[in-house]
């Protein structure tokens, strides 16, 4: 998903006796499924954790534009190009909704941006992998957006009002993303042998990084328990990953693609598909900055920010001048 390994602030769930009156009242509101709004009292740890989580989610949407942006000018048809452009534009929108939700917690947009650009805040590990052929656009839409949807749908019920509302908007737009990806895969798989091979190759490279998106197992993590008590995390990482595998295997079968894991098979006892764990040492390397595209992605974001500076400054200077002119015309008239 787009927010991984979020370190929950605090020391874990407090018992009602350990809580202050304010904390108890706050937890009671969450337990009653009330939404917490920005001006309401909230524990500092809840605020800090949400800033990290929503911020990282926003950064993922923004950086996530890069691997797909890579193919806009090389899409095979004008229609595919228009579709991809619309999809990437949606992701920019998702980033903006989420930044605004984070800002209601008292952090500024510039601070968030600076923390992304300096590498202090992370974005999803998945966007540090390259998109090497056109079929990757299919695999990304189908598998990456598909994995993101698994996490974003339950988050619509999250306890923080602005985050929940952003998720509702985002979820409305996501299913187009996944479907256009699957549509690309269908076309490729019904094409020539070579095109089908490209689709299989994209699947081979994307499968395990997509499973990593959910993060390592957190069923015993005190941090996750606290985040779940606050309802800013709804399911464990393993639950979501299993759901994703169960949904995806039949879709791959329909395409005639092989999942690059010979352990994937339906477990009659559990009713779920068994699968192999991804290589978590690779995941931690990518998180640390050593993935195939970490440097490229951060450089691209930094370049965009630096190159856009004159536009941001120029428009602001113009707006201030205009406002000053208006104010002085008003005084002159009085």
């Amino acid at each position: 998903m787009y927010a991984q390994m979020i370190k929950t602030a605090g020391t874990g769930v407090k018992s009602p006796e350990e809580m202050t009156d304010q904390e108890r009242a706050f937890q009671a509101r969450i337990d009653a499924d009330e939404k917490i709004e920005p001006k309401d009292w909230m524990p500092d740890d809840y605020r800090a954790t949400l800033i990290r989580q929503i911020g990282q989610h926003a950064h993922s949407e923004i950086v996530g534009q890069l691997p797909e942006g890579n193919w806009i000018t090389r899409a095979p048809t004008l229609e595919r190009k228009a579709i991809l452009l619309a999809k990437v534009q949606d992701e920019a929108g998702h980033g903006l909704y989420l930044y605004c939700a984070a800002e209601t917690l008292g952090i500024s947009r510039d601070e968030l941006t600076e923390d992304l650009l300096s590498g202090k805040m992370k974005y999803s590990s998945i966007f540090n992998y390259p998109t090497l052929n056109w079929a990757d656009m299919g695999a990304v839409g189908w598998l990456v957006d598909g994995a993101a949807i698994m996490n974003q749908v339950p988050l619509q019920r999250t306890s923080f009002g602005p985050y929940s509302r952003a998720m509702v908007r985002i979820c409305k737009e996501e299913s187009f993303h996944q479907r256009q990806g699957y549509d690309i895969m269908m076309k490729m798989c019904q094409g020539t042998e070579e095109q089908k091979q490209m689709a299989q190759d994209a699947m081979n490279r994307t499968w395990f990084p997509a499973l990593m998106m959910f993060g390592p197992s957190d069923k015993d993590s005190v941090h996750s328990t606290q985040s779940m008590a606050w309802k800013i995390k709804i399911n464990t990482n393993d639950e979501l990953r299993q759901k994703f595998v169960d949904q995806t295997v039949p879709q791959a079968e329909y395409l005639g693609l092989t999942i690059p894991d010979e352990n994937v098979k339906l477990n009659k006892k559990t009713g779920h598909y068994d699968y192999s764990e991804p290589d978590w040492s690779e995941f931690f390397e990518v998180i640390k900055g050593n993935g195939p595209c970490n440097t490229e992605r951060l450089n691209a974001r930094n370049k965009a920010w630096d190159d856009g500076k004159w536009v941001r400054d120029g428009l602001l200077a113009h707006a201030r001048k205009k406002a000053a002119r208006k104010a002085s015309a008003k005084t002159a008239a009085e």
Binding site: K39, Y97, C100, S108, D110, L315
Partner: protein, 94 residues
């Protein structure tokens, strides 16, 4: 001076004769750009026919601690609701 573009709250009227509804916020240098950005960020799938933008700093809001004093009184004034009055069925629809 801080060089961040100010924050604007965006209100959009959908197509069904509804009032403008708050949909989110965005940063823009001035009102004109805020409306242009709002069109791109909040109406990509014809969600609306009219956009209002208001600089967030100009919005005055009630505070959560006012909840009691501000809204409590009306709860005791149940006669403000039509269901307070029993009108005999013979009178017909009212």
């Amino acid at each position: 001076m801080k060089n961040e573009w100010p924050l604007w709250e965006v209100f959009i009227r959908g197509q069904h004769g509804m009032s403008h509804r708050h949909v989110g916020s965005l940063h823009a240098p001035d009102a004109e750009m805020a409306i242009k950005n709002a069109r791109d960020v909040y109406t990509r799938r014809n969600e609306g026919v009219s956009i209002w933008v208001v600089e967030a700093a100009h919005i005055a809001a009630s505070s959560p601690s006012d909840k009691g004093p501000l809204y409590e009184p009306s709860n005791s004034k149940v006669y403000r609701h039509p269901t307070f009055f029993d009108i005999p069925e013979d009178v017909g629809a009212m």
